[in-house]
Symmetry: C2
Subunit: 496 residues, 2 copies
C-alpha cells in the first residue's frame, strides 16, 4: 500500500504520461481514426493486465506505458486537421492540466465546504458569461452539470414542476381530462430532449413537433399554428424547446420570436445551446442568439465550443427561484433554513448530482489566464473556415450543399455524374452512397467525418472544431470522397 | 493561438501541476479543512484573472501557479488522516494520472468509434467484477454513468418501463383506477432514490417506506406487511430498493430475503450499492451482500470505495435486455439494426449521457497494474479500523455509539456528564450540542467529520476512507470533541 501511494512514484508516472501526451500532441499529420476490431483490442488490453495475485502486484512501469500508449493510439486523432467528424475536439492543453489537478485533489463541487474554489469560480463564470446573455445581476442562476442531456432534463423538470405543482408528489395527471402536459420542440431537436419527455412522465406521444423553414430553423408562424392545434387536441404545452445550434446542421432557431410565442401561451422557453451558446462570447457572432435574454433557461456545453474536457455543461436560469423548483416543488424553505455565507453557495439542491466533478475549474482557468479572446478568436476562425468550405462546395458540380452554414457545421452530399436525376430510386442510391462514403473515408484513416439523415436521406457532415483545419484540408477531403465513391461504385459494378 | 496550443508550454504547465501536487501529497500532517469566507476567496480568485483584452493574453506562469496553489489549498485535506467526514477520499495517485491522459485525449465513451479502449475496458471490468456478483456470463450488462444518482434513476426507469410499458409514450396512468405505480424503499434510503420518484412521474407520495430493524437494515417481515398494506391502498409497487451500505450508517439490507420478497410480488429489486458494493471484491467482506446475484440491478460507485476520481459509477443489470428498456420502451430493434462488431459495443442507447467521460480508464488501469488485492486490502483495512474505533467508543462513558459498524461508517454522540438523563428536553440539547461540535471541530481544522440525523437527533459521523487513519487518530478526535464540547458549553453558560 505504501508504494501505491508513494509520491515519488506519482511523479514518475506523471512524467510518463506527459511524455506520451507530448508526443501525441506534437503529431501534426492529417489523420482520422484507426478502427480496431474489438476482439483484437480486447486481447491486447488483457495482455497488459496483471494476473490474479494474493497480494498487491509490484508496480511495473512498462505495463503502465503500454496501457497509456494503447489508449492514446486508439482514439480519434482530435488534434489532427483531419478530425472533422464530431462536436468534440482537441482540448486546450492547459485545460487538461487543470483537470489533472482536479482528479488528484478530488473536490466534489455540489457543496461549498468540499470545493471552495470551484464554487466561487462558478459564481464568477456565471457573472462573466451573463454579460453576453444580459440578465439582471442577482436574479439569474447558473449551475454546472454532467452533460447537455442532463441539463436539458433538469430545465424541463423545473418547467414541468412550475406548470404542474402536483406533478412532483402525485405524478402526471394521466390521460383523463383536459390540459395534458406536453412540450413543443423543433423537428431537428436533439434526442435528449425527446427522451426527457419519456423519462419525466410526460410521454413521448405528447411531444408537439414544430415545423422548420428552409434553413432548418423553427418557423414561428407555423409553430403558432401547431401550438394552437395541440391545444385543441387537449394538450397543455408548458415548455417550448429551441435549439441554438442544432446538432444536425447547426441551425439557430429565432429565439426572440419563439420567446414571445411561448410566453403569450404561458409556456417556458428552454434553449438547447449545447453547441451554439458559446457564440455569445464573440462580438461578431452573438447576434445568432438574438433574444436569448428572454429565454427561461439555457443549456451551454463548454466541452464543445469552449474546448475543455467533457463534461462541462452550464445550465442557466433567468430566474433563480425557478432553479429551486427542479427537484422539489416547494423549495423556498431551503433559503430560510441556513442563512450562512458558506451554505449559500451550495448547489446540491438544484443539481441532479450529489457528487459532482469540479468541472468549472478548467474553463475558469482558461478564462482567467487567456481571457475571453481565446474563445472568441477560435470560434470565429472555425465559423470562417466553415463559410469558406461552403464556398468551395458551391463550385463543385458533383456536390450538393444542404444549407448555408450558420456556425461550424456543414452538411452536403456527393452526387457524382452518372447518378440519375433526383427521384425516389435515386434517393435510395444517393443515401446508400453517402453512408458507404462515410464508412470508407473513416476506414481510410486520413479524415474523420460523420453522417446525418436530412429529410430521410443521408448526408455527409463536417464539424470544424480544429483551428488548424484549412480550406486546403477541406479540398483534400473532397478529393478523398470522390475517390471513395469511385471505389465503391466500381466494386458494386464488379459484384453484379 | 499558436502559443496556447504549444506543446512545450503544455510540458511546462504539466510540470508546474506535478510540483504542486507532489508537495500537496507529501504533506502528512493531521488536518481537515480551512474554511474561507466566500467573499474573501472570490476576491482572491478575481485578483488572479486577466483583465479584459482585445487579444488573447500572453501566458503568465505566475498566474497559473497562483490559481493551482489556491485550488489545492482550499480543499478538504483528503490525503490527511484527519479527513474522516465524507465518502470521498484521497484517490490512488495513479488514477489521477490516468484521468490526466483522459482529459487530454478527449474520447467520449458512449460510442465505440470515439473511445475504443475505454469501451473494451468496460467489457473487461464488467467480467472481472461479475466474478464477485455471480451472474451467468453473456446475460448481464454493465454500463458506466456519471454518478450514483444517475445510476439509481436509470435503473428505476428501466424497472418502470418494464412494469408499465405505456409509461414512456403516454406518461403515468394518473390517480384514476387501481395499480398506481409506486416504489418501496428503506427509511434510510439515499435522497437520490426518493427524488427519482418525483423526477420519473411516479410521485413522491407513492413511495412506500419500509421499516428498519435495530441495525437500521430493512426488516423483511415488516416490509412484507408494509407492501401488503400498500397494495390494499391501490398501489402497485414495481420496484423495491435496498441499500448495500446506507449513506447514514453503512447498513447492509438483507438482499437475499428482499429479492425473494420483491420477486414474489412481481417487483424488481434494485440495490443501491454506491458505497458498499465494493466490499464484493474482498473475500472476507463479500458476505455482507449475500443474495446480490438475485438482484435485478446494482449501482456501484467506484469513486467511493475504489478510490478513483469522481465520477465513476457502474450500473449493473442482471438481464441485458432490461438495460435496453430504460430509454425507450421497445429497444430490441437496436440489436437488429446494425449487427457489426464495432457498434455492438456502443452504449449510448442505454445510458443517459450522449457525451460521457471515459471514466472506466482509471479503474481499469489500477486493476490491471495492481490487481484486485489493492482494493480488497485497502477496504479490509478501513473496515478493521472502523471496528477498532467502535471498540474504543464502547470504553468511553461520555460517548454513545449508535450501531455496530458493518463497514467503514460509524455514528455516535458525545453525551458529556452534566447533560440530564434522556428525555425530550435533553434530546434537543443533545442535538444542538452535536451540531455545534461538528462545526467547531471543522473550524478548528485538525479533523473533518460529518453529522447525520438519526431518529430525529443529530449524531457525529465518521467515514474512514484513508488507510493512514489509525486508532490513535480516532482517540485524538475524541479528545478534540470533548474539548470542543467544553468550550461550547462554557461559552453558552457565559452568554446566559
Amino acid at each position: 500500500m505504501k508504494e501505491v501511494f508513494d509520491v515519488q512514484l506519482f511523479r514518475e508516472n506523471s512524467e510518463t504520461a506527459v511524455g506520451i501526451l507530448e508526443k501525441h500532441l506534437s503529431d501534426q499529420s492529417v489523420r482520422g481514426l484507426e478502427l480496431v476490431d474489438p476482439a483484437v483490442l480486447s486481447r491486447a488490453a488483457r495482455a497488459l493486465m496483471t494476473t490474479e495475485h494474493e497480494r498487491v502486484a509490484d508496480f511495473d512501469g512498462a505495463k503502465l506505458a503500454g496501457i497509456l500508449d494503447l489508449y492514446v493510439r486508439t482514439g480519434i486523432a482530435v488534434h489532427s486537421p483531419g478530425s472533422m467528424g464530431r462536436q468534440f475536439s482537441g482540448v486546450v492543453p492547459l485545460a487538461g492540466v487543470v483537470e489533472f489537478v482536479s482528479s488528484v485533489v478530488n473536490q466534489p463541487s455540489s457543496f461549498y465546504e468540499a470545493a471552495q474554489l470551484p464554487n466561487v469560480a462558478e459564481q464568477i463564470m456565471a457573472e462573466e458569461l451573463n454579460r453576453f446573455i444580459g440578465w439582471p445581476a442577482g436574479r439569474f442562476e447558473m449551475l454546472t452539470t454532467s452533460g447537455g442531456s442532463l441539463a436539458n432534463l433538469t430545465a424541463l423538470l423545473a418547467a414541468r414542476n412550475k406548470a404542474f405543482p402536483d406533478f412532483w408528489a402525485e405524478g402526471g395527471p394521466g390521460a383523463a381530462g383536459d390540459g395534458r402536459p406536453a412540450i413543443a420542440v423543433g423537428e431537428d431537436v436533439h434526442y435528449s430532449v425527446s427522451r426527457a419527455a419519456g423519462v419525466l412522465g410526460i410521454g413521448e406521444a405528447q411531444i408537439v413537433r414544430l415545423p422548420l423553414n428552409e434553413e432548418r430553423q423553427i418557423c414561428p408562424v407555423r409553430a403558432e399554428t401547431a401550438l394552437a392545434a395541440a391545444e385543441r387536441r387537449g394538450l397543455r404545452v408548458f415548455c417550448v424547446v429551441a435549439s441554438a445550434g442544432s446538432t444536425s446542421v447547426g441551425a439557430f432557431d429565432p429565439l426572440d420570436e419563439l420567446a414571445d410565442l411561448a410566453h403569450r401561451r404561458g409556456a417556458w422557453l428552454h434553449v438547447d445551446g449545447a453547441h451554439g451558446a458559446s457564440l455569445l462570447v464573440s462580438d461578431r457572432l452573438r447576434a445568432k442568439l438574438r433574444g436569448i435574454a428572454k429565454a427561461d433557461s439555457l443549456t451551454w456545453d463548454a466541452h464543445k465550443m469552449m474546448f475543455v474536457p467533457a463534461p462541462c455543461t452550464l445550465l442557466f436560469y433567468r430566474e433563480r427561484e425557478h432553479s429551486l423548483g427542479a427537484f422539489r416543488q416547494q423549495a423556498s424553505y431551503v433559503f430560510d433554513e441556513e442563512p450562512d455565507p458558506y451554505t449559500a453557495l451550495d448547489s446540491g439542491d438544484r443539481t441532479f448530482e450529489c457528487t459532482k466533478r469540479p468541472m468549472i475549474m478548467a474553463l475558469w482557468t482558461l478564462w482567467s489566464v487567456y481571457g475571453r479572446a481565446l474563445f472568441a478568436d477560435k470560434i470565429e476562425q472555425l465559423c470562417r473556415a466553415t463559410a469558406l468550405a461552403y464556398e468551395v462546395l458551391l463550385e463543385q458540380p458533383d456536390f450538393e450543399v444542404l444549407h448555408r452554414p450558420e456556425a461550424n457545421i456543414l452538411c452536403f452530399r456527393h452526387r457524382p455524374a452518372g447518378l440519375s436525376d433526383p427521384g425516389p430510386a435515386d434517393e435510395r442510391e444517393l443515401h446508400r452512397l453517402q453512408v458507404a462514403i462515410r464508412n470508407r473515408v473513416k476506414q481510410n484513416g486520413t479524415f474523420f467525418i460523420s453522417k446525418v439523415d436530412i429529410d430521410g436521406t443521408a448526408a455527409l457532415r463536417v464539424v470544424l472544431m480544429n483551428h488548424e483545419t484549412t480550406t486546403e484540408h477541406f479540398r483534400m477531403l473532397l478529393h478523398e470522397i470522390r475517390h471513395a465513391a469511385q471505389d465503391i461504385r466500381t466494386t458494386a459494378r464488379g459484384n453484379r
